[in-house]
């Protein structure tokens, strides 16, 4: 699969709160590649990821190949009263994946019977990342995946990411830190900043 195109984005314009933040975003993400979104706070990294995940409509432009995505947001979507294994088993059932391997990859086996409410912030994040592993989706859209992770956990995440890439997957990651992934390509969004102003229909400005 390596070399085939996973995600093609052409002239994409995205808006936050009815205000265009990015326009003319074009890039190609091939299978086995990881693209790191860079840019200061507020430049539109999250908005771009949400648009690619299909959570909000684009103002303009085209996206091809975004059917097979797993989105990892700031919030991990964990249920506090369910255990680690139960949280993961739910997503495994939704996507048809396997819980065990994901628990091992994210070093959560010892914690699997603990309630998510009793996890530390870093452990919760690891559980959130384990959800990506059970999803089995080819394209990961990740929004600051390493927040509240320590160095060892970041290494675990990078290891899981490498495995994902090696099996033909790809990833689009918004982050401020250096992942220690030399093969990662950078995409600086600063150059795609939209001029401030209302775009699109009036109801979109109110949405």
């Amino acid at each position: 699969m390596a070399g085939s195109l996973a995600l093609v984005v052409e002239g994409l314009a995205v808006a936050r709160g009815g205000l265009a933040v990015l326009e003319g975003v074009s890039f190609v993400l091939a299978a086995g590649e990881v693209l790191v979104l860079r840019g200061p706070n507020g430049v539109g990294k999250t908005t771009l990821l949400r648009t690619l995940a299909g959570l909000q409509p684009a103002l303009a432009g085209q996206v091809r190949g975004a059917a097979d995505v797993a989105y990892g947001a700031h919030a991990d979507g964990l249920k506090a009263t369910l255990t680690v294994a139960e949280n993961l088993a739910f997503w495994a059932a939704v996507y048809g994946g396997q819980v065990r391997g994901a628990l091992e990859a994210m070093n959560l086996v010892a914690l699997q019977d603990r309630r998510a409410a009793d996890l530390s912030a870093g452990q919760k994040r690891r559980l959130g990342l384990a959800r990506l592993l059970v999803s089995g989706q080819m394209i990961w859209l990740l929004d600051e995946p390493t927040v509240s992770l320590d160095a060892a956990s970041v290494a675990l995440f990078v290891e899981a990411l490498r495995t994902h890439l090696a099996t033909g997957g790809s990833a689009l990651i918004a982050t401020h830190i250096d992942l220690g992934l030399p093969e990662a390509l950078d995409l600086d969004l600063t150059g795609f900043r939209a001029e401030l102003g209302f775009r699109g229909a009036f109801d979109e400005a109110l949405a």
Binding site: A53, L82, W91, A207
Partner: protein, 218 residues
């Protein structure tokens, strides 16, 4: 889909899930009304069908703001929206889960409350049947209201104001079924209309709710 149903049921019965609150509220209504109206059993028997249905409505309303709000707050609604399952099915399954933890227990508890309100002996069977047929509509209509208000801070009051008017047809036909049943009259017409409201709501509202959620997630 079954996983989502199991998850929602499990969350409802775990600590803080709110299972049973609606039931206790229903019980309170049925206990308070005789205290307010007085012990005249003829009056109680006459108002029992209406009181039981209003109680069921309000008890159902109590837990509605949790249907989507909790999933919205912890981010799982975003993740469900990007998962390869249709949002319409998510809404339908969550409505079903809501009915299983509120409407169904209310239905099963209702004969006991009918006793407190001195419901005529002929009415019990029809009370259970009317609630069984009518309460699924309350859950799916309520889920629609919850979908419209998801993401609003303190949307609970707005939710009640939106949803209660939409409960009127179920209330009218449901109470009518119980009243006629208790009086030994023919009740096929209101019962069929009650069923029609439920079926219509289940056929249409999951689509409307899914559209509302998608708009609110933007």
């Amino acid at each position: 889909m079954r996983a989502l149903l199991v998850r929602d049921l499990r969350l409802a019965v775990r600590a803080g899930g709110g299972f049973g609150l609606g039931l206790v509220f229903f019980l309170m209504v049925a206990v308070l009304v005789p205290l307010g109206v007085g012990p005249d059993s003829a009056i109680l028997a006459r108002i029992a069908p209406g009181i039981l249905w209003v109680g069921a409505l309000l008890a159902c309303l109590l837990s509605l703001d949790r249907v989507f709000a909790l999933d919205f707050e912890d981010g799982s609604l975003d993740l469900l929206a990007t998962a390869p399952i249709p949002m319409e099915a998510v809404v339908a399954v969550k409505s079903l889960a809501h009915w299983l933890v509120t409407g169904l227990p209310l239905t099963l508890l209702s004969p006991v409350l009918g006793l407190l309100l001195n419901l005529a002996p002929d009415g019990y069977l029809w009370l259970i049947l009317a609630l069984l047929v009518g309460t699924p509509a309350l859950s799916v209509i309520g889920a629609f209201g919850a979908a419209l208000t998801v993401g609003l801070k303190r949307g609970g009051l707005l939710l009640s104001l939106l949803v209660l008017p939409m409960y009127v047809p179920s209330l009218i036909f449901g109470a009518e079924v119980v009243k006629r049943g208790a009086g030994g009259q023919a009740l096929a017409t209101p019962l069929l209309l009650l069923g029609a409201v439920t079926l219509g709501a289940w056929a249409l509202l999951p689509f409307a709710s899914a559209a509302a959620i998608r708009a609110n997630l933007r």
